[in-house]
């Protein structure tokens, strides 16, 4: 008999989730489409003046990304719960927090990374000044994993419920206020010629904290929800 190693389990999980994501390619487009729609609603509501749009561009993009991420969070454990894979994950002898960290990483790769890739397009639609774009991208790279990690804790708490959409929003949004403030704040600071390193460093520190704590918290929350 050969008991599997934890790294083999993590590799198997990542391979399976990536294979699943490639089978469900259509799902990956949903958050992109959603973010583009949200962003394109703002010029329609506020008028097309470039000066106005440029001022709100970074904030609007962050709100759109946040909402799009929220839209995909619900699916993080849904299918695993419905077909019983989640039980098998919980029963496996490997640290559940590590397995969940792998799941969260794949979720980030398949839902958030595409959003970061189309961010320049969103910036173009809203006349974001060119010097702000690099800061926007860095801030998004720091903020989106935070959304996935903190979102995962809340999803784990609501995993057994049939209609959890509104509740999930209520749980996640207050916890994500700092991500929005620092992310969009860094971009606004660049735009008004202020130093922008501090909010980015804050985000980085918070991300490190979340990387360590959130998988553990997600595992604990999942055990509460399932048992």
């Amino acid at each position: 008999m050969r008991p599997g190693s934890t790294s083999a389990a993590c590799r198997a999980l990542v391979a399976r989730d990536l294979a699943l994501a490639s089978r469900r390619r259509g799902d990956a487009l949903n958050p992109l489409l959603f973010a583009i729609i949200v962003v394109s609603l703002f010029p329609l509501a506020l008028g097309p003046e470039p000066a106005v749009l440029a001022r709100i561009a970074a904030g609007t993009i962050f709100v759109a990304v946040l909402l799009a991420a929220l839209l995909t969070l619900d699916a993080l454990f849904r299918s695993d719960l419905e077909d019983g894979s989640l039980e098998q994950l919980v029963l496996s002898p490997h640290p559940l927090s590590l397995l969940l960290a792998c799941k969260i990483a794949v979720h980030w790769l398949t839902t958030a990374l595409p959003l970061i890739i189309i961010a320049p397009l969103l910036a173009l639609l809203l006349y974001l000044p060119a010097p702000v774009l690099p800061v926007l991208l860095i801030a998004l790279v720091l903020v989106t994993p935070l959304l996935s990690l903190i979102g995962a804790v809340c999803v784990a708490l609501t995993v057994g419920m049939r209609r959890s959409g509104m509740l999930l929003t209520l749980l996640v949004l207050p916890l994500l206020v700092p991500a929005l403030i620092f992310g969009a704040g860094a971009c606004n600071a660049v735009q008004s010629g202020l130093p922008y390193a501090a909010p980015l460093l804050w985000l980085g520190a918070w991300l490190v904290l979340a990387l360590v704590l959130a998988p553990l918290a997600t595992a604990a929350a999942l055990k509460i929800s399932l048992t």
Partner: protein, 257 residues
């Protein structure tokens, strides 16, 4: 097992808690009522009018104690949630859940009174002051805890999930607070801070402290009363609850005759 754990297990057993809390409750309510009346009289009548803010400053006698209680109730809820999750003590689950609506109510009053104070002071009902914004986030956290508790069918599982969320909120609250402060310095428009930089005189201070005491006592009374009711429904199948039910029906029948 040390003395403290033993005491906790004894007092923590639902029948004992029910009895002791039932005996404490009238005293707590009376104390809260008296301290509240004295404090309000001192604050609204005795305390001198503020030379800058006029009579509007008297709002702090409602606003500040409630703001303190909003935070205190959250800390109490999280501490009980921690005990409930680590040692699986049923009473702590009940206490944590019982303090959520009370804390939410205090936070709501803080927001409303702050807004009422803001109208004469700032000329607007709402301003994105860092403290008010943090308070708003706190209210959302409370609503999340209450919503999560009500959404899960199994009562004890619901209590554990809500307690866990409260703990996650504790880790996040300082980050929320500092982010809001930083955000506010970035966007600051001049505003008067609620407590002011000036020192508060003794005649203005004692009613404030009395009212803070009154709200604390009221909070505990309310949490104990809510916990008693929750324990009755949680333990409805147990012997001690049946005895109470029988005793109260017998009492009612005697009263009827």
């Amino acid at each position: 097992m040390n003395a403290l754990t033993l005491w906790f297990h004894k007092f923590g057993s639902p029948p004992t808690f029910y009895r002791v809390a039932g005996r404490l409750l009238p005293w707590l309510y009376a104390l809260a009522l008296i301290a509240g009346a004295v404090g309000l009289y001192g604050g609204l009548v005795v305390a001198p009018t503020d030379y800058q803010q006029g009579d509007a400053f008297r709002m702090i006698y409602v606003h500040v104690p409630c703001a303190w209680m909003g935070l205190f109730a959250y800390a109490f809820m999280a501490a009980n949630g921690f005990i409930a999750l680590v040692w699986r003590i049923k009473l702590s689950e009940t206490l944590a859940i019982a303090s959520a609506p009370v804390g939410a109510a205090f936070t709501f009053i803080t927001l409303v009174s702050g807004s009422l104070w803001g109208k004469p002071m700032w000329g607007t009902w709402w301003t994105w002051d860092p403290r008010l914004t943090s308070e708003l986030v706190l209210l959302f956290l409370y609503l999340g805890v209450i919503g999560l508790y009500n959404a899960i069918e199994d009562v004890r599982q619901a209590a554990r999930a809500a307690a866990f969320l409260a703990l996650v909120g504790v880790v996040n609250l300082p980050i929320v607070h500092y982010s809001v402060v930083w955000w506010n310095t970035l966007h600051q428009s001049a505003s008067v801070s609620l407590m002011g930089q000036s020192h508060i005189s003794g005649s203005m201070l004692w009613p404030l402290l009395t009212l803070a005491f009154a709200t604390h006592v009221y909070f505990f009374a309310s949490v104990l009363a809510r916990s008693r009711a929750a324990l009755l429904s949680l333990e409805s199948g147990k012997e001690w609850v049946r005895e109470i039910a029988l005793a109260s029906t017998a009492h009612a029948e005697r009263a009827h005759v």
